[in-house]
Symmetry: C2
Subunit: 106 residues, 2 copies
Amino acid sequence: MRRVCFVLRVRPERVEEYRERHREVWPEMREALRECGWGNYSLFLADDGLLVGYLETPDWAAAVAGMAEREVNGRWQAVMAEFFTDLDGRAPDEAMRPLAEVFHLD
Amino acid sequence: MRRVCFVLRVRPERVEEYRERHREVWPEMREALRECGWGNYSLFLADDGLLVGYLETPDWAAAVAGMAEREVNGRWQAVMAEFFTDLDGRAPDEAMRPLAEVFHLD
């Protein structure tokens, strides 16, 4: 099981709305993530807009590729894109780059 | 079990050395963390020095307070302090502020 951590930047003025939206993530989006191997997946958000994602997955490339094929993910990412900065035209999930793990304790 | 995520800033010019040091965290430091309830604890480091910590613990305040009483932690934090920016005179572990969790999927 690989542990993956990524960071994205939410526009500071959209932080509260981003938080609200994530209280009601569509059930079919949650189900798709589960089916594609996004386990123990959390999003953490700082007041300045720094967003940290953490998940555990057997295969990160497969987890991303699986979601890329889901219609519901396309709709979700399109809605979410405007909340972020620095996407350079990518969907938010296309901009997720794993950080290097430098320490782990079970 | 609470999921905790915090971010700190490693000096960009010390990123490689920080990574090296964490390949050999002292066994007694690892043991103290375990005993104080730092479970599934990972550190992730970006090239620009952004450090993300993630852990699971029954009680974050107790996990921090427990480590604060350990002599080995005092020695470890003293060695690590010079790797960080923005500590404002605090030890690195005193500067760990949990981000708000805005989403979770088991």
